[in-house]
Symmetry: D2
Subunit: 337 residues, 4 copies
């Protein structure tokens, strides 16, 4: 952390700021220039809020130098983390290929989709049982019954299941039944929920919030990790911009940036990002070419009748073709599929 | 709702789309033009997700015409809602003047601030007991002990208390002890929490999410109202933009827009919006001039030592001066203080 | 400027970076810490691009400490600049009250509006002769004929005239005929045009770009000032965000921020910001309460038939009422009208 | 275009709006519903500004149905446009591989880079002679001397040259000397300049503005095309978001979206988007996988000493490796290199 003092700060005031820093357990190194005096703060700066010093009348600004996270930081853990989801590896050169409907609608539906997706090469099944919906009047998901259908589909196909947890109330149940617990974009900073995720060791799929910076996203992973669960997979799903033609703007720079800042795996959800089925194919290819550790794609056997997000779902045949093309790109960038 | 069909859609396809609409309980009126065929959908469109139709191969786009909310909609409730917070009225020509520290730090602190704020004209006391913090390593608030301190300060000053609820787990306790339950920006779309707020009739202060549209914000109010609690106050606190000099960009157009779309009161939090104490005074004046139903302002007796957000807090003397100036502007725009 | 080096940078590499800095005419002060080595760069940093050093393999990041502008910087010019527009003062406690139609459509129209606006208290007349339009098929303005109509209206009413310059080609003509030359949001970083504005001493009204940071905006003023024209007035007109209900999001925090960073006057255009006539009144009041040095408002005698932006124009009678209310708020904040 | 009327609009008012529409040369088809009356407007709606009708007191909203552009619209020109840049084809399955330094600094520099880039497979040479810089104190480019150096490099290598035009003043000269005239992001809506580009038939490389929607971007192409120059290539270079770790957020969804809406070629500039050299490789691969018609990449023989943007430049050896990998991905997606 670096504290820049106002021009012409007196020695007395410099001393006061230095003491304030030391009171927080940090060491200080001060550079006195004619126009510019700066105090370098050295020590465990992650635990000190820079905003505390900004208040002082002699302080011009306070700048972070080191990332405010540790457990998720690649600097302290140089090799890639590989998360094991019920036997399916994610990270390193292993790709997560997650497919399934937006919402669980019926046993027949889910099993049919799961079989087809597995046939095409998917290695996990997704499906929403509890659905976060902007409107209280929209379909809110089948709830616990939906969860049971997913379990049934796992039994039939052997695919590990991924589904969204919206409240700590169901955490024990998810811990028992679900293989990869998804935390949705709108709950990325539901800090209370994040803290509770340390109670399980089940892998967590942490979606990026609609306007979350890379740092905030990694900090949310740090919440989960610091509460005791190191098994976090990040998922880029688009951020909100001024462009309204697409649902969100998919930020594929997130892949190399996260890879540089953190050792956690990062996958991409092109279905929610664009909100249009015809964007899924080019964006899936792009994500893999950029080095993504996996893809989460909505697949529906009858999108026209889907209760939710049919417009962004692929039919099983299209998904099959897509995976064939993806495989060739994965090879070029050194990923196994 | 209006469905625009693709150019040159056949009669057979038009019929199919019409049937799809009718199957959802809506009536259809179709206009056939040479270049353009549109289906007007009439009925209770609030309960129908327009995305359901976008999937059809003959559909070009689907456009909402009516707002997707009812209970919060001014069209169905033309007069202003006035929310009663333990005897303090908010809305109409009544202003909420909420003041207090970001975090509860000690009994002495809170009581001293509360007394001073009341003296200046504040009619509610705020203070964080549970704090949503981006970092797991930052001060997370005093928790239940903080809540008790707020209650003590209410006892001493008579000011109703406002504090943030982060998890449904504490809802019963808040229902018992708190006068105005705040839902923070990061939980604005924690739908599970919103639904639970119908269990109480205590007024809810619903902050706008950092990237929430007006419609999404009102929809979150609709969640609370449709679950059984009509006492919602909205709070604008800045949205996230590309500008990083200020913490967030305060959107004061929200005041007249919300007033037009909804009958709920809307107040403004200039402290969190700008993140700098010297922005609080001009933005408070601006908010009142624009017609805000209240102000929530951080006041701290010793900002230099605040455990959180000291840099955006006013000292009691500054708050006192501010309220005097605000009073003159309130008069011009017809508000009582 | 501060250069943060990578952890464990060798002395040899530190020396190389120091030399690189000195080669640009700056002095260096280096702090060596265990985890952190920083080089403070002292001297005329405004003329050195920090990105030049980011390239070095030993450099972690480079941070600006001082603002990259001088002539527009309040630090070097503490008192408010007051710009004189053909006798009308703008800045300090003097307010610019600019009114008129979006586009000049006819002599009758402009003169009728100008007379009414003057009657209500306006002290400048605006009107577009050359119009920047997103579509090549939209009305592009009357061009030179429009300019002559504005001059005629000035003759009749005595109001100085404000109109937009879109190309350096007409600069001499504008210099001769126009009192306040407007540079539109879309040309805020048309650097070639900005540089040419030093050829005149006529005051320039520089609108903020739709996604311009405060710093970029002030830098565009610096372009004009450094080319020889110190008479710049800034105009906030809304920035682009994810919210699409309003045309743009008016950023009134810009007023106190610009006032702190720069000595130049800042006025507000609430008509273009919201794009809806009913937002003009509350936002005008808010702007004045926040300390704006003026308002630029679209006034049209027949908005229903306007060739451009009728939907955001006030009728003369509404403008008259607005100015009466504004006057009371101006008094509270110490401005003359 | 669809006009939605306010609930309970009288027949008289409906008639007035219909007449207003017909006065603009459009036909009307009106649907009368109990809650909802809509007027479908049919005809050459591209030439009618929908904002003209929004002003009417009976109008709730006006919605565009058809895109407001024609010449650039794929609906009227289904096959891909292939632009010929001095013999190098761009579009269809032909890739533009543009490489070179941000700024022209010397003849030796440019020729050395050009030779190396050509060797690696580049088919055009880029280099800035006139540089748009945020600060008036930054290096503004070598100007005309820079242009001559580029011509020299073309003579030596045979590579067509691409460089940015900032002012119509130099258009004749560019027409004579340059092969592909670049219009920068900050001039994307410099409408005056766009209109002048019809004076030449030289291909134009139109960069996307930092906050331009797809529609606005295509409309700027439409300006050029409607003024008489059909040879436009679009270039995605990142948009501005709240994320500040990267310079901009590269929007690769732009590739399939533009391809759907327009027949014009679209290339990607990953160097400016991310602003970091290590993002260029993964984003180049992603862009090609998503179907881009080309890549514009900054290559510098000595980035540490570059006068501009060295931090985002690749060294020739890295560029060489990159093109080899790109070639494999291009093959998978059916592009020739």
């Amino acid at each position: 952390m670096i504290i820049v003092l106002k021009p012409r700060t007196t020695e007395e005031n410099i001393l006061r700021v230095e003491n304030m820093v030391r009171a927080r357990g940090l060491e200080t190194h001060t550079v006195r220039g004619e126009e510019l005096t700066i105090i370098g703060c050295i020590g465990d700066t992650v635990r000190v809020d820079p905003r505390l010093f900004e208040v002082d009348k002699s302080v011009e600004k306070v700048m972070h130098v080191q990332e405010p996270y540790k457990l998720a930081n690649r600097a302290f853990h140089p090799e890639d983390t590989i998360v094991d989801v019920a036997g399916v590896k994610v990270g390193g050169d292993h790709m997560a290929l997650i497919a399934g409907p937006c919402s669980v609608e019926s046993e027949e539906q889910v099993i049919e989709i799961a079989k087809a997706a597995k046939e095409s090469g998917a290695n996990m099944l997704r499906g929403g049982a509890f659905k976060p919906r902007t409107s209280p009047y929209s379909f809110q998901g089948m709830g616990l019954a939906g969860l049971d259908i997913l379990c049934k589909a796992r039994e039939v196909t052997g695919l590990p299941i991924v589904t969204e947890l919206m409240s700590a109330e169901y955490l024990d149940l998810f811990d028992e039944k679900v293989d990869l617990i998804q935390i949705g974009a709108r709950n990325m900073q539901n800090f209370d929920l994040l803290k509770q995720l340390g109670k399980t060791k089940k892998p967590i799929l942490l979606k990026r919030g609609l306007n979350a910076t890379y740092e905030e996203w990694i900090m949310s992973a740090e919440y989960i990790m610091s509460s005791g669960n190191p098994n976090v997979i990040l998922c880029e799903r688009g951020v909100r911009t001024f462009e309204s033609y697409t649902r969100n703007t998919l930020d594929l720079q997130a892949i190399p940036v996260i890879r540089r800042l953190s050792h956690l795996p990062i996958i991409v959800d092109p279905s929610h990002a664009g909100g249009k089925w015809w964007l899924v194919e080019p964006m899936s290819k792009a994500a893999v070419a950029a080095g993504a550790d996996g893809l989460m794609i909505e697949v529906h056997n009858n999108p026209e009748c889907a209760l939710c997000d049919g417009g962004q779902s692929l039919k099983p045949a299209k998904y099959d073709t897509l995976l064939k093309e993806i495989r060739q790109i994965a090879e070029v960038v050194g990923k196994k599929m």
